[in-house]
């Protein structure tokens, strides 16, 4: 009888083990460990690799102002675009960067509203990435206007011509969408930083550090009379950012979809662009997070489960994008419109076939590897696989933009776009700028949202009445977790 009982208990314990959710912070780390782990990245002297990388990418970033100066002083002709391909690498790069900027606010807002607690250890760096990507994105359309000193005409400011902006144009909607997205993302990011900046202030060992972080922390003191408003503010910002994230890339896609160019004029564009943006954004989050997780030994905060979840999102959105590619072809055939059919046949088998098949390989085929658990569990395999979406999403924008316009309705206006060295160098410059800004972020701000990670640890639950310092109070089985 007794033996029966103990074997039943063992079976139950095994089942409970199996059912238990993997903790989001491994090894039952205490709260002060989290503070120490994250703050010391900022506090200890900059490691040698940081200086090397920052100098290399900083030098690369200077290519951006150098190329822009050359462009403005010489003329837009230094870019390879010309009739019929008037939108080329510049708009491709714009859409590429703005797409990458989607994962940050998606993680902060949508995963917050859907109570996905695993977002807490990745949202800070993803939001920073968003802001840097949108900065890189903004450069291209601003200079694409040709006479950049006239770029202020985009803003509804009274001017000497007494003419206002055309509010019926999707290009103007885009100005509003991107600038709103940038501003709201920045506010959201800063709001989340305030309590963590206060942590850095309170640990400061030098007067300068104390003053800078102190001013940035706005005098935050962790008062519950503040937390109550803070949490409400965060919830509201998450609530308004959710439709905002979905709207930004929808509005970007309107730039194309409201035109009558075959290949652009499709109603599938908004959801297809948004799925692609989330896909590319998560790939970039993983590209940045995996190396820093290894360097700073953050395995207990950014666990394998986090990486696994992100891989699954990439698999899902990659498949959605694949569905959109095939649906475009179906609709082209179903429409019976010869120009539409031609645009798509030309896309896959025309002179830009290599770009199209690079896109299919990178965006549809490569993420399918994430069906295999092995591929999601090994960070280096993950890093290798996400390089495909990173590349593929650039090709996607190139394919959409260039292949749709390089053959106009009349064969007399057919052309083939090739980038010039200025196009290429400018794009490399923005990559440098993006990584450079991210390196500065890693060095000067807490890369993990400490207060939110603390809030999801078992000891943060006020209803576990035992002393939070003793590891024995950590629930060991599923029944205790749910008790």
């Amino acid at each position: 009888m007794r033996a029966d009982n103990s074997s039943a208990q063992a079976a139950f314990a095994k089942a409970a083990d199996y059912l238990e959710r993997r903790p989001l912070v491994s090894n039952h780390r205490p709260l002060s460990w989290i503070t120490q782990k994250v703050c010391q990245i900022v506090e200890e002297p900059a490691p040698k690799w940081w200086w090397i990388l920052t100098i290399v990418f900083g030098a690369m970033a200077t290519l951006t102002p150098a190329m822009l100066t050359y462009l403005v002083s010489t003329g837009v002709g230094v870019w390879g675009l010309n009739v019929p391909v008037c939108w080329a690498w510049d708009i491709t790069n714009f859409v590429f960067w703005i797409g990458i900027g989607h994962a940050g606010t998606l993680i902060s807002a949508i995963l917050f509203l859907t109570r996905q607690k695993w977002r807490t250890s990745i949202n800070r760096s993803a939001e920073a990435m968003t802001i840097f990507a949108v900065i890189c994105a903004g450069i291209f359309p601003a200079f694409h206007v040709g006479r950049v000193w006239m770029a202020w005409f985009l803003a509804p400011i009274p001017n000497a011509n007494a003419i206002w902006q055309n509010f019926r144009s999707p290009l103007l909607w885009d100005v509003f969408a991107v600038s709103t997205y940038f501003t709201v993302s920045l506010i959201f990011w800063y709001l989340g930083l305030i309590p963590d900046l206060a942590s850095l202030r309170d640990r400061a060992t030098t007067r300068l550090r104390q003053m800078v972080y102190g001013l940035l922390a706005l005098g935050w003191r962790g008062s519950n009379r503040h937390w109550t408003h803070y949490e409400k503010t965060y919830l509201i910002l998450a609530g308004i950012s959710t439709p905002l994230v979905l709207s930004v890339h929808s509005v970007v896609s309107f730039d194309f979809a409201t035109s009558i160019v075959p290949g652009w004029h499709t109603t599938i564009f908004p959801p297809y662009f948004v799925a692609g943006a989330i896909f590319g954004g998560f790939a970039m989050v993983l590209t940045l997070l995996i190396p820093f997780r290894e360097i700073y030994n953050l395995h207990d905060l950014v666990t394998d489960k986090h990486i696994d979840n992100m891989c699954k999102i990439i698999l899902l959105t990659g498949s959605l994008v694949g569905y959109a590619y095939s649906m475009e072809f179906f609709i082209a055939w179903y429409s019976g419109n010869p120009f539409e059919i031609y645009a798509f046949t030309n896309r896959a088998f025309g002179p830009y076939w290599w770009a199209y098949w690079a896109m299919i390989t990178c965006n549809v085929a490569a993420p399918q590897l994430f069906w295999f658990k092995y591929c999601r569990q090994n960070p280096w395999v993950v890093l290798a696989i996400v390089m495909f979406p990173n590349t593929g999403m650039w090709f996607e924008r190139f394919v959409i933009i260039v292949t749709s316009i390089h053959r106009d309705f009349l064969p007399s206006s057919w052309g083939y776009f090739s980038p010039t060295w200025v196009d290429i160098t400018l794009f490399i410059g923005t990559i440098g700028l993006f990584v450079f800004l991210f390196l500065l972020f890693v060095r000067f701000l807490p890369i993990i949202n400490m207060f939110e990670v603390k809030g999801i640890t078992p000891q943060a639950d006020p209803h576990s009445s035992e002393d939070h310092h003793s590891p024995s109070s950590i629930p060991q089985t599923a029944s205790e977790v749910h008790a």
Partner: protein, 195 residues
Amino acid sequence: MSSSSNLIFGLGAEFSSAGALLEAAKKVHAQGFRKWDVYSPFPIHGMDHAMGFQRSRVSLFSLIGGFTGLATAFGLIYYTSAINYPLIVQGKPYFALESSLPIFFELTILLTAFGTILGLLLLTLLPRLHHPVFNWDRFQKATDDGFFLVLEANDPQFDSNQSRRFLQALGGTHITEIFQDPEETPHPARSEATS
């Protein structure tokens, strides 16, 4: 600030865990204190209820911001396109709801965000450069792993000795008098020895 008792901001106590702080807060609220606060490195679930808060009014500021944004967008588009300089572009109407929706949406969101942040700053009276609780040397743990409760001296129920005993009864440790000015703070070892 004439008598020395005026210089005391309040009496602080430290608690061992979020749960202990929540229990203490419930009792302080039941005792009828009004000028008091708890400090923690993260928001504690159930604390708003324990302290008897109504729901936060930040959302009112968001609503005002949102309506302002919508009205601004409508005014901007309607005035510029239909009144100040009507211009026919591709035969489209001067003003149409459909083509205005994206900008209506974006400006509504933008000003909602501004309103929300403004509401937060107004309701929390932040930013501020200093606060008396920072004079307490243990207090820097509030952004690390410390859980604190402070009874403020300007509460009508506050009495230096009784309140100290009350905090002790609640299970608070390191009970310390917090002073208004930094120089008034005695050495931590001395103030703890008296408790």
